[in-house]
Amino acid sequence: MRRRDEAGTAAKAVEARGLVKVYEGRRDRQVRALDGIDVSSNQGEYLVLLGPSGCGKTTLLRTIAGLERPTEGEVYIGGQLVNGLPPRIRRVAMVLQSYALYPHKTVHSNIEFPLKAENVPRHLRERKIRWAADLLGIPDLLGRRPRQLSGGERQRVALARALVREPAVFLLDEPLSGLDAKLRATTRDELKRFQRQIGTATIYVTHDQEEAMGLGDRVAVLDAGRLRQVGTPRDIYDEPADTFVATFVGSPPMNLVQRANRLVGFRPEHLLPAENVAYDSRVTMPLRIERIEYLSGDRHVYGTVTKIGTETRVIARLPATVITPLAPGETHEFAVPGDRLRFFDAEYGIRTAPVRIGG
């Protein structure tokens, strides 16, 4: 039993078991920032922690880094129990949301700082700084100070500073949130290529589902200090484990229609005018159209469905290829392919087995 356990963790870059973090507030009020989290990331994997603000994702990252002490539970890095060890022994590197460069040091000294802390000899330090600066394309900035850098440049410096220590794990806390929208897209791409290049396990925290789905080999969805689901972006999107994941991921979110003690879920892009859905095993429903938005070639149709369950407002996303004329006020027959329906327990929101819907 024990041996198998050790063999199991040896392959994991990071493993958290039963992590609980309780913050003591004023007048004995307690906040459970982490409420029993089990999650692990594999060697070389890009794991994204996704959740709304306040869900505990940053706390989880800081606990793995050693900046916070868990109230309960264990953290393993490379199979080693690291509870109580300071960050420097854990061989983790973390890029903080604010980048937190040392404002009084030049870029060169910023990158050099962790090497000095490890007492790396001077000639080796220079070589590593050079290597990291070249990798991130910032050799020209080495003489500058942080306040003379743009947001994107600061981020690269922060990455370089994390990189020189050749950590076992990279922890990134919303590294793109400080950048403007245009820069964010290109930097996202660079981050991914950069991680492929160095091949280090990375845990990435974000509240942005686009970043999460785009970057992650696997995505872990958190809410209120609990892990809701871990899986590939495809799993998370197509097979949500509960209604939280179903509605948090996807834009517009998954439609949920109550039918007895079940919630019937379907993604907006699967709800199409009936004539566009193949006959076999489709579920049809009349949609009373209220409003139509025309967004980047797609038509977003807002309306109310009846018949399959409680009257519910839903959204249908029609690609440009669907040319059926629709107008607000009219009722049109819509349909969803049967295999695209997902079922959840109406009370607990947990995914359940499919039920037959007539038609």
Partner: protein, 305 residues
């Protein structure tokens, strides 16, 4: 058209005129500064070049007579050295202890508010009052400290600690440090609060231990405010006469005399107003230069951020 404009003009009150308001608000400060700073300073300069005494207070120009009298005084040179030593030692101790205390103030303690209030107490106590407390603690025969020292066989022979050259000087430094440390602590704590907290997290993540975090990150980042705290401490120690006057009276044998007490001794008690004024003026240019240099350094340190 012109009618409405005229009516609008009628309604313009005196308080709407910013030029008037600016002067109205400035006036009290100007009056106050003139009466308490500019006028006494002018008088001091005038008296420094006079041959006025308390017996013959009418103004008679005396050229450099006052300065000559002061420079020929052995006690002056010794107290000049003492003043500088006292200031330097106090500044170093106050800055170091103040920085430590600043971290205590920021720490997440259980009775944070109480601790903060207690820490600030020495600074809010009037100087004379705290000096009297120190005197009671150290001074006359039978004082608590004296009894403890005698009990531990560390004090022999007659006289209290304040009656001996070395201990008396230490007592003066101690009183100053005790009084000014809270001020420095508050200033440094403000500086620490201004540093984005992520920087300390980053330093821990970068593997820096306690000393490296302190000297590689915290100290350089708080250097500007620390310098401000040092300048304040120096200025306040430098011009203070209450502590020495109450605690040791400059004694024993003028060994703890500082410039302000000497100026008072010569000018007011000794009656030689010219010499007293000259003594008190002597260090002004030096001191001003020191402050200007320190503040320049602060500004330069802040500019690189």
């Amino acid at each position: 058209m012109s009618g409405t404009r005229a009516r609008a003009g009628d309604r313009t009150r005196l308080t709407d005129r910013e030029g008037f308001l600016a002067w109205a608000f400035l006036l009290p400060t100007i009056v106050y500064l003139t009466a308490l700073v500019v006028a006494p300073f002018g008088l001091t300069v005038a008296f420094a070049f006079s041959r006025s005494t308390s017996d013959a207070p009418s103004y008679r120009f005396g050229g450099l007579r006052g300065f000559r009298a002061v420079f020929g005084d052995d006690v002056f040179w010794r107290s000049l050295l003492d003043t500088l030593t006292l200031t330097c030692v106090s500044v170093v101790l106050v800055v170091v202890l103040g920085t430590v205390l600043a971290h205590v103030l920021r720490a997440d303690l259980r009775f944070r508010r109480t601790v903060r209030t207690l820490v600030l107490l020495p600074w809010t106590t009037p100087v004379a009052l705290s000096a009297i407390s120190w005197r009671w603690l150290l001074g006359p025969a039978g004082s608590p400290v004296e009894r403890v020292l005698r009990g531990a066989s560390l004090l022999h022979g007659g006289g209290s600690p304040l009656g001996r050259t070395g201990p008396a000087a230490v007592a003066v430094v101690a009183a100053h440090v005790w009084r000014l440390t809270p001020l420095a602590a508050v200033i440094v704590a403000a500086g620490l609060n201004a540093v984005p907290s992520g920087v300390w997290d980053a330093a821990r993540l970068d593997g820096a231990g306690f000393w490296r975090r302190l000297f590689g990150v915290t100290v350089p980042l708080t250097l500007p405010v620390t310098a401000v705290a040092a300048v304040f401490t120096a200025a306040i120690t430098f011009v203070d006469m209450a502590v020495v006057r109450v605690l040791t009276g400059g004694g024993p044998h003028d060994s703890t005399q500082v410039l302000p007490t000497l100026a008072y001794l010569r000018g007011v008690e000794g009656g030689d107003i010219g010499a007293g004024a000259a003594a008190s003026l002597f260090l002004l240019p030096l001191f001003l230069a020191g402050v200007v240099v320190a503040l320049r350094a602060v500004r330069r340190a802040e500019a690189i951020r």
